[in-house]
Assembly symmetry: C2
Homo-oligomer: 469 residues x 2
């Protein structure tokens, strides 16, 4: 059956097929539906798991008990999508994309039955898969990833069942530190085992050091420069400890938080273009490069870093949602773009707030940029105002041009979202000198008279203007 | 004595004279001193009051009891300035500027003695004066302004002395609402009498309405559309009530918070250029227009509104500090500019946060701009995260170009400083369509997956693109 015949069978109505029923895929489907009714556009979405449109970013807070009910993490259920005329097929895994034939093969996960579905337009939103260490014991009971709601439920079940009180978190990135908080909140003794020299490798080590100190202040044991070599199990087959070259850390439960990679197995097999980080490459309209009728978004794509001019892989719900919005608009015949990212991220561990945007020192070097740095300490509110807390702000600016390159912030309440000031300034290509006169919100309960970001900008501007030694 | 003779007497050292010892004046003096030592530059500063470099913005929190000690509001004392080789003359009021002669006449407030001081460079930082209503009873005991530390002390003394529990605040701008909070915190029954249709006339009335409702929720009685006609006194001569055309409001204490005007009496007498709002006009280096060796900054100048292209008067400590920094740099032979403001302001009343930047509807109309508006409700954190609070964001965008014109936010914790996102976007001249893809910090404790500001931008972008009806 050729494509035109396939279309003939379905009449004039176009069919949009979506692979992946989470943030990017279902945002795309919903936006396309908003713009085109069912009489014009048929939408079929395949999801291999049990849930749609959920907040994976919320899992640590559910595990930690801040969010009591799993269903609160589900923005929209399968039934709600179906009520909007989206033919959502749950527990159905796409196993092949036939680009030339304009069709996908899908398998019912439970029955194993397979069938082909043709498409006029295709959205690939296959997400990311967690990096699972290839080591003995990594699959033992009591060892958990926290990528999906199913993962989260399994971990919660383990926590409820085990009598133990010792948890080891492997990895000290966002997931690792958020899970450390969750486990602290559940009353565990928490050890974080980290390959890097400091936690939060998305920060420069000097700022990671502040996170390290603060985490220890919260009672978390941080083990840096430590590669996990195996996970040890007891006689019952369950995890009992985590081993590095140097030591063993007893554990009743282990959480793996060592990052994710784009899930592009299908795309690779279909010959679609992938970048250096293994993610799909798209144009600014989120179309897969060289493919007029295929879009991709969310954790399975690479995105343009507007500061370095290079492609990156960033798995983050906020990007996935924006991608979906752009894809849905374009797939429905509208026009929207996703110009790229500046690399903003914010996280917390108990009352510690950690934020970054733009380039770290090593990113800037890799991009061929020369830069100055400025690090300052200031407060979240006027110094005399009650509950003013200190924060450290580090700023990178390009030599000669003075262009802002990046900002990192470590502090307490009121520190994290200040990174947005820098995110917008980066997007606009501002210099640190221009930033000094930014008209930011000032009143004693909200900021010192010079906002901490401006204090950093002043110091960075001075460094840009200083004669080279 | 002519100028060159005056210089001859002092040798080759230049003299910088500063009129006004608060934020702008002393920032200028300090920055000039940082760049030039006492051997090159003599700095003489005149302050007619008892205090230097204090946070007038902090007075409501001192009165309310959040800041226990007045001295915490003083960033730098007279002694500290003198230790930095600034010849600070307290309780000394400049009574005349002789521009042609390059000198100022100053009077010792206590002794009444007058003398002339010549200058090579002059900084005018005379601040603002509160608008005092010209009505019977306005000077009665128990009626207080809150402009200076002396004002604040007098009010605190009254509060300590009076047995009463009823306070009336006249005016519902920033000072008015902050003083309402302060008096609530002191256990008073608070009535705010407001000339406008809603409190916070720096917001559009629809947003002011939200403030009105929230203030009533806090137990504050709001009386709108009410002009105070007189202040009634008892037999003891003290205030007993505030009268409007329609009613009388019993009061044991009255706080006047009806705004300020530039204090430019000296400048006007000296023939220096003033704008429509009565403030000094400067160039971008904060030089008084047409005068190579005179700078002015802080509450006594008008500033360029970068959005409307028109001059405005905004009395705000953060601007005064920036002006001082720029003036000090330039007066010491360096180079810095203050490009203008976008009109950002943020305030709180108990847990209510109020913020604005850019143009209101009426400002946009006055500037000749056509615009669309978008108002949305969202939350400060992911909806499922504990203590997520709702906020309302209103956005104005120019018709056709889609350029952001203004943002107003009313909400609870986490709402106010989000206005900074818009402040930077305004400065950069971004369109609301560009804002939709801003890479803002996202994690469930900090933001929904679409930040409220981006939700508003999406809606505004849609309105910009909608066909005109």
């Amino acid at each position: 059956m050729n494509m035109s015949a396939a279309r003939g069978v379905r009449g004039t109505r176009e069919r949009l097929v979506v692979i992946g029923g989470d943030a990017a895929g279902m945002s795309a489907a919903s936006q396309a539906r908003r713009l085109k009714g069912a009489e014009e556009l048929e939408i079929v979405a395949f999801e291999r798991g049990h849930f749609t449109s959920y907040s994976a970013c919320g899992i640590p807070y559910w595990v930690g008990g801040d969010v009591p009910d799993r269903d609160q993490l589900i923005a929209r259920t399968a039934e709600e999508h179906r009520a909007r005329d989206i033919d959502l097929r749950m527990r159905t895994e796409v196993t092949e994309i036939d680009v030339a034939g304009g069709r996908v093969r899908a398998r019912d996960v439970d029955s194993g039955a397979e069938s082909w579905t043709s498409y006029d337009k295709l959205v690939i939103a296959t997400g990311a898969r967690p990096i699972r260490p290839d080591m003995p014991g990594a699959d033992a009971p009591g060892v958990h990833g926290v990528q999906t709601l199913d993962d989260g439920q399994a971990l919660i079940d383990t926590l409820a069942r085990t009598r133990g009180r010792r948890a080891v978190v492997v990895g000290a990135g966002y997931i690792g530190v958020e899970m450390a908080e969750a486990l602290i909140n559940r009353g565990y003794e928490v050890t974080v085992v980290n390959r890097g020299s400091e936690p939060m490798s998305t920060l420069d080590p000097d700022m990671g050091r502040l996170v390290h100190e603060a985490m220890e202040g919260l009672g978390i044991t941080m083990v840096n420069d430590a590669e996990v070599t195996k996970i040890l199990t007891g006689e019952d087959g369950r995890v009992r400890a985590v081993a590095t070259e140097a030591a063993e850390y007893p554990a009743d439960v282990v959480v793996l938080g060592i990052g994710v990679r784009p899930e592009t197995t299908l795309a690779r097999a279909a010959g679609l273009p992938l970048g250096d980080h293994g993610g799909l490459l798209t144009d600014l309209a989120m179309r897969v490069r060289g493919h007029e009728n295929i879009w991709a978004g969310g954790d399975c794509v690479e995105v343009l870093d507007l500061v370095s001019g290079q492609e990156r892989h960033i798995a983050l719900g906020t990007h996935a949602n924006k991608h979906g919005q752009v894809i849905g608009t374009n797939a429905a015949g509208g026009y929207a773009t996703f110009p790229g990212v500046v690399g903003t991220a914010v996280s917390k561990v108990c009352d510690l707030e950690i934020a970054r945007t733009g380039l770290r020192e090593k990113d800037a070097r890799r991009a061929g940029l020369q830069f100055v740095t400025a690090t300052i300490e200031s407060t979240s509110r006027a110094g005399y105002y009650p509950s003013a807390s200190t924060m450290t702000v580090k700023m990178l600016a390009e030599r000669r041009t003075g262009r802002l390159l990046g900002v990192q912030i470590v502090g307490r309440e009121g520190a994290g979202k200040r990174v947005d000031i820098a995110a917008v300034a980066l997007t606009a290509g501002m210099t640190v000198e221009q930033m000094v006169s930014l008209d930011l919100g000032y009143a004693p309960p909200f900021s010192p008279v010079w906002d901490p970001v401006l204090v950093a900008a002043r110091k960075a501007a001075k460094a840009v203007n200083a004669p080279l030694s």
